[in-house]
């Protein structure tokens, strides 16, 4: 990448017996929205803290804007950050909180006023400049934290689960806005979250973490549609899980024997005939039809969600499968139905990982 802003090379970090980062390699480009997605405890915060300089890696190198910052203290790195619990300074007003980074840079009063004006308009905090944090709602605190991160126009903004403490409505709204800020400013955002919807909505590329390891890094579409790691296949979307034994492998496609049915999936991890395998199929990638299909069954329940519905199908072999599809009149509870999916929409991995 020619316009790389942030590089992590072979970065590792241990806390006693816990490995919080295990040989991490990342590159983030100039105008990129990069999401770090993983379950709680997977090492996302530790990663951000190392980039910010609040934690020193045991091994490896961190480069920001061409400078090796691995041993540089946080106050010399010139990056912005939005913290998980906002961490606004309780004794400072909104305006003082927001201009704090400028004050530390000894900016002039006019410069401070200009930047404040600009960022207050950007994040819609007009009229709240003289309030104290305890006089703000959760959403307003969030905006102040964002404004403080952006005010000095840093070369890089780190965000640690910035929307985790907001209710769903507000979160949806902020997702769109944060993405807008990033596009407007043209600086890279590294966005940590455990919420895949957030990561998928906002990011260009993302990395999926588990137990301090990077499971897969890439374009969000490629991670979603073409997982190469079993964890990623099981984590993204809400996949159905099928366990069976491989009966044949033909090129990229493996055939599994699953409770008397032959099901097909892309073969990963060197699957060969006779192996026990686990296969993941995202619920919206299964077609549901009343007339024809490979496996037949009966609709046990319909969970209507508006734009689409989840159909719980009890197959004739006694197994349950969830299918997401548009809601149709004939797909009612108790109706006979058939399901089918394309082999390239299913991913099979060696079982027991």
């Amino acid at each position: 990448m020619s316009d790389t802003v942030l590089t992590l090379e072979h970065v590792s970090k241990n806390f006693g017996a816990i490995t919080a980062a295990d040989d991490i390699n990342i590159e983030v480009g100039q105008t990129e929205f990069f999401a770090l997605l993983g379950p709680s405890g997977s090492g996302k915060t530790t990663m951000l803290r190392m980039i910010a300089g609040l934690e020193t890696p045991d091994t490896g190198r961190i480069v920001i804007g061409g400078t090796d910052v691995t041993r540089l203290p946080p106050y010399k790195r010139g990056i912005g950050m939005v913290f998980q619990d906002f961490l606004l300074f309780p004794h400072k007003t909104v305006a003082e909180n927001i201009t704090f980074p400028l004050k530390m840079q000894r900016s002039s009063d006019t410069e401070k006023a200009e930047h404040l004006q600009w960022v207050v308009n950007l994040v819609h905090l007009e009229g709240l400049e003289d309030r104290y944090p305890h006089q703000l709602s959760g959403g307003q605190k969030q905006r102040v934290a964002l404004a403080r991160g952006l005010v000095s126009r840093p070369s890089l903004l780190l965000l640690d689960e910035p929307l985790a403490n907001l209710d769903r409505e507000l979160r949806k709204e902020m997702e769109v806005e944060i993405r807008r800020f990033q596009l407007e400013l043209g600086i890279p955002f590294v966005y940590v979250t455990h919420n895949q919807e957030e990561a998928l909505t906002m990011s260009d590329r993302m990395a999926i973490m588990r137990d301090g390891k990077m499971e897969q890094v890439g374009e969000k579409f490629s991670l979603y549609h073409n997982p190469t790691s079993q964890f990623v296949a099981s984590f993204l979307g809400s996949p159905n899980v099928f366990s069976g034994r491989v009966s044949a492998v033909d090129g990229e496609i493996a055939t599994l024997d699953w409770h008397g049915h032959a099901i097909q999936a892309r073969a990963h991890g060197g699957l060969k005939p006779g192996d026990a395998a686990t296969c993941y199929v995202k619920s919206e990638k299964i077609a549901i039809e009343t007339d024809a299909g490979e496996m037949s069954g009966e609709i046990r329940d319909v969970i209507f969600k508006g734009q689409y519905a989840d159909f719980l199908v009890l197959l004739d072999n006694g197994e349950e499968v969830t299918v997401s599809s548009s809601h149709r009149g004939q797909l009612v509870k108790g109706a006979k139905t058939h399901i089918i999916w394309k082999p390239e929409n299913a991913d099979g991995f060696p079982a027991g990982e």
Partner: protein, 266 residues
């Protein structure tokens, strides 16, 4: 029925407790305004003891010396204790339990032993004479332990991630302390100062051994016990109590009105 009875009983006990705690203090204020202390009933008010106190120069010297010891000890103890608590809570230094234990252990040493041993140590090994300075140092040994205890309890609730946030936004550690930590925790540091100030101001044994003939208020009070209590002492006690209570009242008003904030979170 029984419920009412038990509430009544609780109120009676509470009132009795307050009388037990505060009557001696109120009584001394009363006696300080009476012509005689032997049996000051019926009341016969006079201001003569206060006038005498105004003219008694040894009480002035004693008050000044006690003030010097109190302020000196208060400053040394609160600064050292603040640094120690920040080291333990913010930087989570290795062996922090042992360090905390060593800071607290002077609490368990009798003051008279601290007095004697610091006098001997200062004189024999360091060749220092007993004076106000050595009295301040000796008082600081245990006053620091109290200040440490006060600060540890208060700052355990402080969110050190605020300091980290400031550092990410460009503040050096020193700047962070000035901009974030100090403005938020100064009431706790001030509390530690007050505690160590009062301990040293009121201390008899340690100051006595280190000062010899130099008077402080407690040594004067103790001396006058042996030579028959003069009523200026009651007047002095009344004035000191008045000062302490009006100080506490002022503090209460400042905290209630939000000028001093004791919570570290928003």
């Amino acid at each position: 029925m029984f419920r009412n009875l038990s509430i009544t009983l609780q109120i009676v006990m509470l009132v009795a407790l307050y009388i037990f705690l505060y009557m001696p203090i109120l009584y001394i204020v009363y006696v300080s305004m009476q012509t005689t202390a032997i049996w000051p009933f019926p009341p016969d008010f006079t201001g003569e003891h206060y006038v005498n106190l105004w003219h008694a120069t040894d009480y002035h010297t004693g008050f000044r010396n006690s003030l010097i010891i109190g302020i000196g000890t208060g400053m040394i103890s609160s600064v050292i204790a603040t640094m120690a608590v920040i080291g333990i809570l913010k930087y989570r230094v290795k062996g922090s339990k042992l360090i905390a234990g060593l800071f607290l252990s002077p609490l368990f040493i009798a003051h008279i032993l601290i007095g004697i041993s610091s006098l001997m140590f200062n004189k024999t090994l360091l060749g220092l004479p007993g004076n106000l300075f050595s009295a301040i140092i000796a008082n600081a040994t245990y006053a620091t332990a109290f200040a440490f205890l006060v600060l540890l309890a208060q700052l355990a609730r402080y969110d050190w991630r605020l300091d980290e946030a400031a550092m990410v936004f460009g503040a050096t550690p020193r700047r962070t302390f000035r901009e974030i930590t100090l403005p938020l925790v100064w009431p706790a540091i001030f509390g530690a100062f007050i505690v160590s100030f009062l301990l040293a101001f009121n201390n008899l044994e340690i100051s006595f051994y280190n000062l010899g003939a130099t008077p402080t208020l407690p040594t004067l009070a103790w001396g006058s016990l042996r030579h028959g209590i003069s009523q200026e002492l009651y007047a002095l006690a009344a004035l000191i109590n008045a000062a302490v209570f009006s100080f506490l009242g002022l503090l209460y008003i400042l905290i209630r009105s939000g000028v001093i904030r004791m919570d570290f979170k928003d």
